[in-house]
């Protein structure tokens, strides 16, 4: 039992973090669009779910707090409390506080730190100030609009709900068509309601039922109009219908609701208004006088005995109406469903254990190797049928490999959305106006890569907001728009993923950077550096030219960590800047996959694998170059000079001079380089195995792999080789 509970608790913590992020996203959206109903609903649901789950796993601190926040959001959702900056600010702080409580629960801390407890009390008080007893108002559901569109029907003169009254709630239900098929039954809701109060009167409607031929016995066509007397509060009554809220039409009008609200209700429901009006009067929700006055239209009197008589049984009303209007009712219901707030389609996902996924990927890796082994033998045997089967097998293994790899891929957008809050807070704290524009959010990369790149990116964005973007006044002074812009963009490029952060702020001051570097001894005074090299100096430890150190950045401890994290991911970073115009930082990361498609080559007796995505083409090495036996050189590739590296020399293999050699041309970023090898062997699928720390400093090698026949091949570190070639080219002029 204990194990189950801790598993559930762990799930709660993971989900709570996601919900809190969703909550933050919603709040930031609402800040720009206070009337966005979809977002308000999403926001409410996030907090509601946190409250519920925390209760189930017994994290009382969260449940207690979330409950109060949920009450507030319930009022916001009903239109009683309008969305404004103060509320958003408060709720953002509440979200942060709940996050803190969740983290405390994760560490299973026994004691709540002093300042957390203090914050808890202060926030509860602020929340409480919004929750002071309010007058009953119209509850919004589905398409029933608030009566006056001013965000609520606050009726100051209405009596508070606490005093038990003989007046009743009016509950209007149109059950969802698939209710019965989902295993539920309206009767259980009615029974449950009767435990919470008295169903004073009820009318069951079945106008939606089509003629016998079309009538589906498993579809629910019923609706209900009832007067319900209860001392419970609105929320408790609403919660009765929690599980059918999304597919059924539900309207709940508290006692003493404004008459307009009933009229709105009549208009919102699919059935004939006259019928509905009659039901309301018969049930006791309205008096006939009230109804007539409110409608201010001639009630279409179908039967002479109707209003005057008053003895018509409701049963007879329904029989008379029965089938005629079902098509109209159907159409109206359909239309209502479409215009209703659309619940965001939740992607169908499954939570799985990361360890199991890794084990699976390892196994797939072994499968790839074993399959390669088999293929070697198959090719040797030259049996046609066997070759065909092996080909099919190969394709299947490739598919399994690709699909498995893709499981670990996650869209980077969610990570990006965290930065909205950072930018917003910095803007607010430092009196700046900054917009964050995110593009390429659906670019996918490996989950572990995303986790490791999030912090570096956060730091870069903070830098841009803090040091890059100027205050509105400063910007105006140089003719820039008052609002600064930070752009975050991700995309795939030739087997890598590129993430760019750019801003339109001050830009880097090259002179100051050089000065600082010289004074720190990083470079010698006369050293000549390109702009690119100069800007890269900012990643050196302890480097900061920030005029002032703010609490966020400028202490010089951030950028080198950023650089180190990127290195650890086998990525590279480049900085571009124009002084006065802004800075762009480009991070390039490999699409880390444990299995790669590669191109195998041989140099002397050793095998090397080049990542296929970086291979552009293969050409023959011209005679002239062959005889030169240089480590570096150039060939003429269709009119352009292509630098090359002779791997034999690079890896210090014995030189045998004048032999037939080929060049495999690779590309990394904007640079093309040729790698001169002895033999081109062709495409292979290989599993990357790390070489371990001992080989970390071997230049040009990024890993190893086991070939189908059991030999070890080394995987070439193309970025490093390209860099070496470029560097050599620059140095030799």
């Amino acid at each position: 039992m204990d194990i189950d509970l801790s598993q559930a608790r762990q799930t709660f913590i993971t989900e709570a973090r996601e919900l809190l992020q969703a909550m933050e996203n919603s709040l930031l959206i609402l800040e720009k669009n206070p009337r966005d109903d979809d977002t308000i609903n999403t926001l409410f649901r996030s907090v509601h779910t946190i409250k519920g789950s925390s209760g189930i796993v017994g994290v009382d601190s969260v449940e207690r707090f979330a409950h109060v926040a949920e009450n507030l959001l319930s009022r916001v959702r009903d239109g009683e409390i309008p969305v404004n900056n103060a509320i958003i600010e408060l709720l953002l702080e509440c979200g942060d506080h709940i996050a803190e409580l969740v983290e405390l629960a994760a560490t299973e801390a026994k004691d709540v730190p002093q300042d957390t407890a203090g914050r808890d009390a202060v926030l509860l008080e602020r929340l409480g100030s919004y929750l002071a007893p309010s007058a009953p108002a119209v509850v919004r559901y589905g398409s029933l609009a608030a009566s006056s569109g001013d965000g609520g029907a606050l009726d100051a003169a209405g009596p508070p709900l606490k005093t038990a009254s003989t007046d009743t709630w009016h509950i209007s239900l149109r059950f969802g068509k698939d209710l019965l098929k989902s295993g539920m039954d309206p009767m259980s809701f009615l029974n449950y309601l009767s435990r919470l109060g008295d169903i004073v009167s009820i009318v069951t409607l079945f106008d939606a039922m089509p003629p016998a031929q079309e009538m589906d016995p498993e579809t629910c066509y019923l609706g209900v109009e009832m007067e319900f007397k209860s001392d419970f509060d609105k929320k408790t009554i609403e919660d009765v219908f929690e599980f059918i809220r999304d597919d059924s039409i539900i309207h709940i009008l508290p006692a003493h609701s404004r008459i307009d609200s009933y009229i709105e209700l009549i208009k919102a429901l699919p059935e004939d208004p006259a019928l509905l009006g009659e039901i309301l009067v018969k049930g006791g929700a309205l008096t006939q006088v009230e109804l007539d006055e409110a409608l201010r239209v001639q009630v279409d009197v179908r039967d002479e005995t109707a209003a005057n008589n008053g003895t018509r049984l409701i049963g007879e009303i329904l029989v008379g109406r029965g089938m005629v209007s079902h098509k109209v009712v159907d159409a109206a219901l359909e239309k209502q469903k479409q215009t209703r707030v659309n619940k965001p389609k939740e992607a169908l996902t499954i939570r799985i254990d990361a360890g199991r996924l890794d084990a699976l990927i390892n196994m797939v890796g072994e499968l790839v190797i074993a399959n390669a082994n088999i293929n070697l033998h198959v090719e040797r045997l030259k049996d046609a049928a066997l070759l065909e089967s092996a080909a099919i097998m190969m394709r299947l293994v490739e598919d399994v490999r690709d699909t498995t790899m893709r499981i670990r891929m996650v869209a980077i957008g969610e990570t990006f959305s965290r930065f909205n809050r950072v930018v917003r807070d910095i803007s607010r704290d430092f009196g700046k106006e900054i917009d964050l524009i995110i593009t390429g959010g659906d670019t996918e990369l490996d989950k572990t890569v995303i986790e490791k790149i999030a912090d570096p990116l956060m730091h870069l964005i903070r830098n841009a907001a803090d040091h890059g973007i100027e205050t509105p006044a400063e910007r105006a002074a140089v003719g820039k728009p008052a609002r600064g812009l930070i752009k975050l963009h991700a995309f795939h490029d030739a087997g890598s993923i590129v993430i760019e952060t750019s801003d339109d702020g001050r830009g880097l001051n090259r002179a100051r950077i050089i000065d600082k570097a010289v004074s720190s001894g990083l470079i010698s005074p006369g050293q000549v550096l390109t702009n690119a090299e100069a800007y890269l100096l900012i990643f050196e430890p302890g480097f900061s030219t920030a005029a002032e150190v703010t609490k966020l950045s400028g202490r010089g401890v951030g950028m080198d960590v950023v650089r180190r994290n990127i290195d650890a991911l086998r990525g590279t970073v480049a900085v571009q800047s124009v002084e006065g115009r802004g800075v762009t930082v480009s991070i390039r990361l490999p699409l880390t996959l444990a299995i790669i498609d590669g191109f195998m080559v041989r140099v002397n007796g050793s095998f090397y694998v080049v990542p296929l995505e970086m291979v552009v083409e293969c050409v023959e090495l011209p005679d002239k170059e062959r005889r030169a036996t240089r480590a570096y050189g150039y060939v003429d590739l269709r009119g352009a000079a292509l630098p090359y590296i002779r791997l034999r020399s690079f890896f210090a293999e014995p030189d045998e001079g004048d032999r037939y050699e080929s060049i495999i041309i690779v590309q990394y970023g904007e640079h093309k380089t040729g790698l001169v090898v002895d033999v081109l062997h062709g495409e292979v699928q290989t599993v990357i195995k790390s070489l371990g720390a001992a080989y970390k400093n071997v230049r040009g090698i990024s890993g190893a792999t086991i070939m189908g026949n059991g030999t070890v091949a080394l995987i070439l570190d193309v970025p490093a080789l390209v860099e070496a070639a470029v560097k050599h080219a620059e140095e030799s002029g």
Binding site: T204, L222, L313, E316, V319
Partner: protein
């Protein structure tokens, strides 16, 4: 649920025994429509129904309504038993008593 149909002259009697729920609703509908085409009056006997759910209630509503539509006499004792309780909850007893 067991559904038995007895026909005397042009009067039909549809008797349902057991659990009247979503699973038996389809069968009931078939028998209902057959009876309605063959008879001028229909009596639905639900005294033997031990349990009824909303699908079952809908079937009874359909029965009454279709009968009225085709000018077939309809009779059902809507009180007592499981059916009575369900109809009371929905306040549909009046519907089944009105007209004949």
């Amino acid at each position: 649920m067991k559904i038995s149909v007895t026909k005397i002259d042009d009067r039909c009697r549809l008797k349902a025994d057991g659990e009247f729920n979503i699973y038996s609703a389809v069968d009931f509908k078939v028998q209902l429509l057959v009876s309605l085409t063959q008879c001028r009056s229909l009596e639905v006997d639900v005294s033997g129904v031990t349990e009824i759910d909303t699908a079952g209630v809908q079937m009874l509503i359909l029965a009454k309504r279709e009968a009225a539509q085709r000018a077939v006499g309809f009779r059902m004792d809507a009180h007592g038993g499981a059916v009575g309780a369900a109809l009371k909850l929905y306040n549909l007893a009046g519907f089944f008593e009105a007209g004949v």
